[in-house]
Symmetry: C2
Amino acid sequence: MAYSFRHLIEHKRDGGVLRSGEIRWIIAEYTNEHLPDYQMAAMLMAIFKEGLDGHELEVWTDAMLHSGQVMDLSHIDAPKVDKHSTGGVGDKVSIPLAPMVAACGAAVPMMSGRGLGHTGGTVDKLESIPGFRTQLTPDEFASIVEKTGLVLAGQSESLAPADGAIYSLRDATGSVPSIPLIASSIMSKKLAVGLGALVLDVKVGRGAFMKTLDRARLLAETIVGIGKTHGTPVVAVLTDMNQPLGRMVGNANEIAESVEVLRGGGARDLVEVVYRLGEEMLMLAGVESERADARTRLEKAVASGAAFEKLEQVTIAQGGDPAVLHDPSLLPMAENEHVVIARESGYVVRVDAFDIGTAALRLGAGRERKEDAIDPAVGIAIEVKVGDEVTAGQPLARLRWNDEGRLANALPITESAFEVSEHLGTPLVYGEVR
Amino acid sequence: MAYSFRHLIEHKRDGGVLRSGEIRWIIAEYTNEHLPDYQMAAMLMAIFKEGLDGHELEVWTDAMLHSGQVMDLSHIDAPKVDKHSTGGVGDKVSIPLAPMVAACGAAVPMMSGRGLGHTGGTVDKLESIPGFRTQLTPDEFASIVEKTGLVLAGQSESLAPADGAIYSLRDATGSVPSIPLIASSIMSKKLAVGLGALVLDVKVGRGAFMKTLDRARLLAETIVGIGKTHGTPVVAVLTDMNQPLGRMVGNANEIAESVEVLRGGGARDLVEVVYRLGEEMLMLAGVESERADARTRLEKAVASGAAFEKLEQVTIAQGGDPAVLHDPSLLPMAENEHVVIARESGYVVRVDAFDIGTAALRLGAGRERKEDAIDPAVGIAIEVKVGDEVTAGQPLARLRWNDEGRLANALPITESAFEVSEHLGTPLVYGEVR
């Protein structure tokens, strides 16, 4: 069946509902490059404005999911559970979390993204471990998760290729922040991996793509809804991203901080989010049915060293050098340090995650353009959290830098990220949607 | 100055206002093919949804107008006035009107379009006069209007090229029926000709692009507003396009009907619209200040044969054979005729202009695809008007056809265009906007 794409655009533009056959035709023909980008761009803007209803969204997601290969991990006996974050600053959660959950008996077949704009990417961070390969074939992916209970890979181009093509177009044409398009993008890739269950970490605030709790909740509900229609249980947890998570923002420095968590240390906020998501994963996977039991199991996996060993195993399986995990001082680290100090005494009322993420990007920890290389050795250590009391002259942040021009470019926005005055933080966990 | 087109799309998408420099940059860079179609398609959809305010529209129009050559007709002493129609079925108004107005002492430098969808085009109709050339160079255009007080040409590609490029993209991506985009498209082309004044015929109804009086009035007000900011007086007249105008729908047959009007005959509705627009043109050009005087002058130009002679002069100047004007039976005319008759007696309550336009298109009088050739010899003669009393068996329409398959395709929609029952027509002229 062939349709007039122009008529379908007009129909959606005027608030109409697309039928299943029409949606499947659009996704298939666009993936095969039979439909021009300019028409798809107009359709995406129409969807941005008019939305997709529940049934349209289900079909749109399913069509993207089936636009390429669908993995079959059914030969793995362990319950399979993954975690996905909508992206933030200092969000290295996956790196300690996945080994912890795997050490507790669930299988974690994780595909992560690269940094996007001011946010960091798990894949970029992992690649600061010398030799660590994130581009795996589907066979390598399946065999590593089968062997170690865990795999930490980048997106495979053979999975949900429609999503990659549509995402690039949205990025260029102003239709990125659309709830149904974000939700279908996330879920098409996750469902193509053949997951059993998914925990979603929806970041909310200045440093997140969802700036308000309302929009974050809507995204969470939308994704939980897609999971339901596909028979994949999803729990979404809404967490704060007004200030960076943990202490480190960059790449190699976030690996070091992740190891700290696996060694039983780490910043309080980071640890809280890691354990909360770990509890959800273990409960969703059916490893534990009570939250307290899940917590205890996670704590034991850390205390026994089993979680750290999982990270070591997966690092070796993916070609990385495990020596840097045992001695994080071997990780790349820029020699030059610039310290930003408090100009006045008082309480820290703002550490702006967007500004800090942008500063790290400018230092070279992220990409201005897609083709840019990142510098794993640069980054920012945040020395204070919202609510902390500081005295004038005390360090607020330490910037590790390799290029003087980049430092000069990053410094003003780092300084303006901090606000010191009189008191009070915001909650870390806002709620959850099941 | 360079801008991020993506940011401008996002700004418009969210209801923002574009600045002058931003708009001029978009139009200039798109015309120079420095901006990709997919981004422009998204911007046009955003404009479709969010509109352009008065100042944005003024700048958008001005930027399109200056995207190519701007004609200078200032050496012509006579007041220059043009008429533009938003397009309809049986709308051959320009062909008798322009010579009538020229015969009254105004100069009419007219650029017209080709048929679009179910509507006919003045240029296609003129080309059914053997030899008549509508593609003129700007020099030919200027010299013919200088010599004969009149020129009837097609769109020049060197005038407002941005409009041509944007129109094609809108057509493929569902942003055609946007009031600001329609208004700026019309006015950029008209202003590039260097007009003194413009009378706009906004068609309203089933066979028009504006289906409701509200939208037609909004378009009229928008165009009058653009004229005002550019110092070009515009009067818009809203006229009915629920039923076809006049008796003939096609190409050569509409030339014959136009000659009838110049000979003092013609269908009442067609004559009423021609004279009403002619009065507006003469008043706007300053040839007459009173409507009654303008009417008398037009009637005299017809009665004296001066108007017919103007059409003859311009035909010769543009390479056409004037013999067909003296004897319209020499015009191409398909030999086969099929008569649609009334099945019951009563009043005609509907002669659907959209259906009749579509039927004529299917017979070959218009183009299904841009590259199609039209057949000037086919068309439809409408034998009844809304409000007429008919008896069963009386002819409603006569189809002239050349291809049996096309006739079979055109017939059902021709038949369903007519509704006979118990009565009353709709007004022909709905009002005006100054």
